[in-house]
Amino acid sequence: MITLPVESRKTSHIRLTLNGEQVDVSFAPYKTLLEILREDLGHTGTKHGCELGECGACAVLLDSKPVLSCLVLGVECDARNVLTVEGLGLEGNLHPLQDAFADLGAAQCGYCTPAILVTAKALLDQQPQPSRDQIRVALSGVLCRCTGYLQIFEAVEAAMVKIAEQNGAAK
């Protein structure tokens, strides 16, 4: 029998809220939130491009704020709230941001897309009518090598309009 090497021992346990649902997870204590999401919770929607905080591809919302999951320790996530791209949809439908990105060419290779989407969602949740400059700044923490960003800005603006319409209709 091969004994369990120390790196494999899942001795840390946390209970967190992931995409609106409580979930328990055990993991090796050296792991970051990124690794736990992808490897211990099977949520591979969140990506990684550098693991050093230099590209933004691993962005998730932690307690509603965009952070880099590659630099968040798993052991710091107990009782906290995490939102990933998998949790963007509402009642079985895509989030207006997802629809807009899909329709307006804002996703090409799609690798930075999850990070940009959750970051844009946090922006629109905080500020329903951001200016183009505010969108640029909010997204300045995620690198994209495919799009040149312009269609991404337009998709955020289109989603902004759609959300306002939906909110108006709901009233």
Binding site: G45, L94, G105, G110, R145
Partner: protein, 838 residues
């Protein structure tokens, strides 16, 4: 839910659609893989998780050049959690992308050639375990002299980085002369000589290279990899693992960006395959960002010397171009790259006589290869900046000068490239108009300037990487009785939208929605061979193959429905998921019923389409690089703001016009244009693949200056200017629905346009990239001191060029063969270039 939204009517005439309105092609629509991407469900290579999966890490050379004397992996093997350690002796067979440079080993056996060259592999239960065990492998190196630049390579024939190549550390020299260039200089009114340098850069895809290998349930090998070229990887795996290719399956997972950096077969792909076979468990590797810098295969740094003769009206009489190319440690696509640094100069402006000499050397740095634009980007920079200097001297507007010398469509150039449609003039006119060029050029206040540049690019390399007579792309279609259509094709989705191109074409022909189509692409077991996503070949080659397969399917359906509806088959139309009589549209059958009718008549329905590029008239040796079914054209105007004190440079706006033939899906096309502009801007202003050679007396080290995403500068959302895109759509009959390429062409004019704009702004020439504030400030100081207001290389070293192959241009009675060499079709082909048999 359909992918086509209710869009404004687009009445576009097209012969392939028999004069009908196009309902899919040219209509803005959601791409077929969009939903998967925006929900995070697209399965990239590192997202694959399999039971019992082990993790692999590579031990890499810390020395730029050394012999391996001894490797002792016993301590690593004994480390808890380690399953296997591999070294060079486990995978000694050499491979490489080009048949003429099979110079790589999956793990170096006895010679390491750059910092980062893989030496051993550890496969362990956890990735962290494998990483810790790397330090337990003891390697004894014997240090060899470091060769850090092409100049050093030319001066240092020994030690040889490779035992093949021309001589010493010269990998390849080419010399091609089309017409008597000296005579053309004698006929010129003015002669211009300029030296330029184009710094290397890398692709920096956000997704790091990753691969998973498994001995599948049947006992055969399957490898998933983030690769742009599954077919070439397939061949390399069969060769190195010494397995029948029929027992190897490569699945190209959607790439999180490629740009040419994932087009070679790589060490890590072969290593995990070997490990999976030995362990009979899945093995995964995902490279760190630093390791991606060591894979590289990026833009070759090129030193160029242009000598161009012109008449007073700007007509070019002849051009002599010399290039010195820094190849890095391995061949990769380098021989092709070398030819590319000369091949496309004749595609934009008429050049009646042309002499091209190129030299690639090896150096102890990560190998260079194809990056978006592959080898044509560098000389295009030189040519467009020199044209700007020519325009100034001749007192001509640079846009007007270019308009006067644009090459004609359907021409065969001096170097025997057959052009298709050429709408460069229209592109120039559009950007001149859109940017307000005439009011701005040489008229903006100091510190603001505009520059113009043009370019052309291939729509797929005319020759495959390995010589053969088979199609470059194949598509198989399956039509289901339920109305669903399945496309099988080897084409690879790297973000450019290749899946959507295939689906759009098939949907248009069959009159269905792209949502009704399922695609299986990039899988060597499921789909016919497509050579891969490189050289902008997919739209024309896979697209034409899909078109043929779809038209064949439509023909079968047409016949069966004609009988059922008792209508001449020529009157039948396919649209809105129905087949109907154009004279009496109420006579119709649903699409799925048409399939059933056809199946009843013909048996099971399945069609095949393929595409082989036309034979090129370039018959001389070396004529294989450059030919393409047709070429796209681009013109760009860039406006810059330069601070005359600090040299600080910003780019507020770019106007670009691209001769695309036809935009198959407009938002995707716009994305390619803007993405190319973005990447071009990065190269123009801030990207550089730079290396540090530590002081020789203290160290032999030659390291990448900053192999990280923080220090290798790629523009952020705050650095991207406003871009105005215009598309010129004159259908080129060589492309499906007239489409040409868009994934690479729009990158090329950006860098020279920036350089030309800087001159307009502050009167200094930066004859190299990247164009940085430091260089601008130095050039301004030179200007102030009354010296040449310029920053750039001054010297092109002497190179012993071989005797040039002389080929008479078409207008001088040439036939495409060299007059001083055995014609290529008569030469026996070397064994190693022949198709590999299983």
């Amino acid at each position: 839910m359909p992918n086509q939204k209710d869009s404004p009517d687009r009445s576009v005439k097209d012969s392939q659609a028999n004069g009908e309105v196009l309902r899919v092609i040219g209509v803005p629509r959601r791409r077929v893989d969009a939903r998967a991407k925006v929900t995070g469900q697209t399965r990239f290579a590192d997202d694959i998780v399999l039971p019992r999966m082990a993790h692999c890490k590579l031990l890499r050379s810390p020395h730029p050049h050394a012999r391996i004397r001894k490797i002792d992996a016993s301590r690593a093997l004994a480390h808890p959690g380690v399953y296997l350690v591999l070294t060079g002796k486990d995978l000694p067979t050499e491979y490489g992308i080009l048949p003429v440079s099979q110079d790589e080993q999956a793990l170096c056996l006895d010679h390491v050639r750059h910092v980062g060259d893989p030496v051993a592999a550890v496969i362990a239960r956890e990735e962290l375990t494998a990483f810790e065990a790397l330090d337990l492998i003891d390697v004894e190196f014997e240090i060899l002299a470091t060769i850090s630049s092409p100049e050093e390579a030319l001066a240092t024939p020994a030690p040889r980085i490779h035992d093949y190549g021309e001589e010493g550390n010269v990998h390849k020299r080419v010399a091609l002369e089309f017409g008597d260039v000296e005579k053309s200089f004698a006929e010129a009114d003015e002669i211009f000589e300029d030296t330029f340098f184009y710094q290397g850069s890398t692709h920096l895809p956000i997704e790091q290279h990753a691969a998973v290998a498994i001995k599948d349930p049947e006992g055969k090998l399957t490898v998933w990899s983030s690769t742009q070229t599954p077919h070439y990887l397939h061949r390399a795996l069969a060769k190195v693992l010494q397995m029948p290719a029929a027992h190897v399956r490569v699945i190209a997972t959607p790439n999180g960006g490629g740009f040419g950096g994932k087009s070679d077969p790589f060490n890590h792909e072969i290593v995990v395959a070997k490990a999976a076979l030995l362990l009979d468990r899945p093995v995964k590797i995902c490279l760190t960002r630093e390791e991606v810098f060591y894979c590289h295969r990026g833009r070759h740094p090129v030193l160029m010397k242009f000598k161009t003769g012109v008449k007073q009206d700007g007509t070019i009489t002849g051009m002599h171009l010399q290039t010195l190319i820094d190849g890095g440690a391995y061949g990769s696509y380098g021989v092709a790259s070398t030819f590319y640094t000369g091949a496309l100069q004749t595609t934009t402006y008429h050049i009646p006589r042309y002499l091209f000499q190129g030299c690639r050397t090896f150096t102890n740095k990560p190998p260079c290869g194809p990056k978006r634009g592959h080898g044509t980007v560098q000389p295009r920079f030189g040519q467009e900046v020199q044209l700007d200097k020519i325009a100034e001297k001749l007192k001509l507007d640079p846009a007007e000068l270019r308009l006067g010398i644009v090459e004609s469509p359907n021409t065969v150039t001096a170097n025997y490239l057959r052009l298709g449609t050429v709408n460069l003039s229209e592109c120039i006119r559009r950007v001149v108009k859109a940017s307000g060029w005439k009011e701005k050029f040489r008229q903006l206040p100091e510190g603001r300037g505009v520059g113009i540049a043009c370019s052309a690019y291939l729509t797929g390399a005319g020759l495959a990487i390995y010589w053969n007579r088979m199609p470059h792309s194949g598509v198989q279609l399956k039509l289901d009785r339920g109305g669903g259509v399945t496309i099988f094709c080897g084409a690879t989705e790297i973000g450019q939208g290749s899946d959507d191109v295939l689906a759009g074409i098939v949907a248009e022909v069959l009159g269905i929605d792209t949502f009704d189509i399922r695609l299986f692409t990039g899988d060597t077991d499921l789909g016919p061979v497509d050579l891969g996503s490189y050289s902008s070949r997919v739209t024309i080659m896979a697209g034409n193959a899909a078109l043929q397969a779809a038209e064949r399917a439509r023909e079968l359906l047409r016949e069966a429905v004609a009988i059922r509806l008792e209508v001449p088959k020529e009157r039948l139309r396919f649209a809105d998921k129905h087949v109907f009589d154009s004279a009496a549209p109420e006579k119709r059958v649903p699409f799925h019923e048409a399939i059933c009718l056809a199946e009843a008549r013909f048996g099971t329905i399945g069609t095949v389409g393929s595409y082989t590029p036309p034979k090129s008239p370039a018959l001389y040796k070396g004529g294989g690089v450059g030919p393409s079914p047709t070429y796209s054209y681009t013109a760009a105007v860039v406006e810059v703001a330069v601070n005359p004190v600090t040299g600080w440079i910003t780019v507020p706006k770019i106007w670009i016009a691209h001769d695309i033939g036809r935009a198959l899906n407009p938002p995707l096309v716009r994305g390619q244009v803007e993405g190319s502009v973005y990447m071009g801007l990065g190269e123009a202003l801030m990207e550089e693949q730079e290396f540090r050679r530590l002081p020789k007396r203290l160290s032999h080290a030659l390291v990448h200056k900053f192999p990280s995403m923080l220090e290798y500068k790629s523009p952020t959302s705050l650095d991207m200017p406003e871009v105005v895109t215009e598309l010129v759509e004159q259908a080129d009959p060589r492309g499906p629905f007239g489409a040409k390429e868009v994934g690479q062409g729009p990158l090329l004019p950006i860098m020279p346009a920036v350089a030309n704009a800087v001159y307009d702004a502050v009167g200094v020439r930066i004859d190299e990239v990247p164009i940085t504030p430091e260089k601008i400030m130095k050039a301004l100081a030179e200007k102030k001191a009354g010296r040449a207001p310029r920053y750039g290389p001054n010297h092109f070293p002497h190179i012993d060029w071989p005797e040039a192959l002389r080929v008479s241009p078409p207008w001088e009675g040439g036939d495409g063969n060299a007059v001083n060499d055995v014609p290529s079709h008569r030469k026996p082909r070397p064994e190693k270039d022949k198709v590999l048999s299983s």
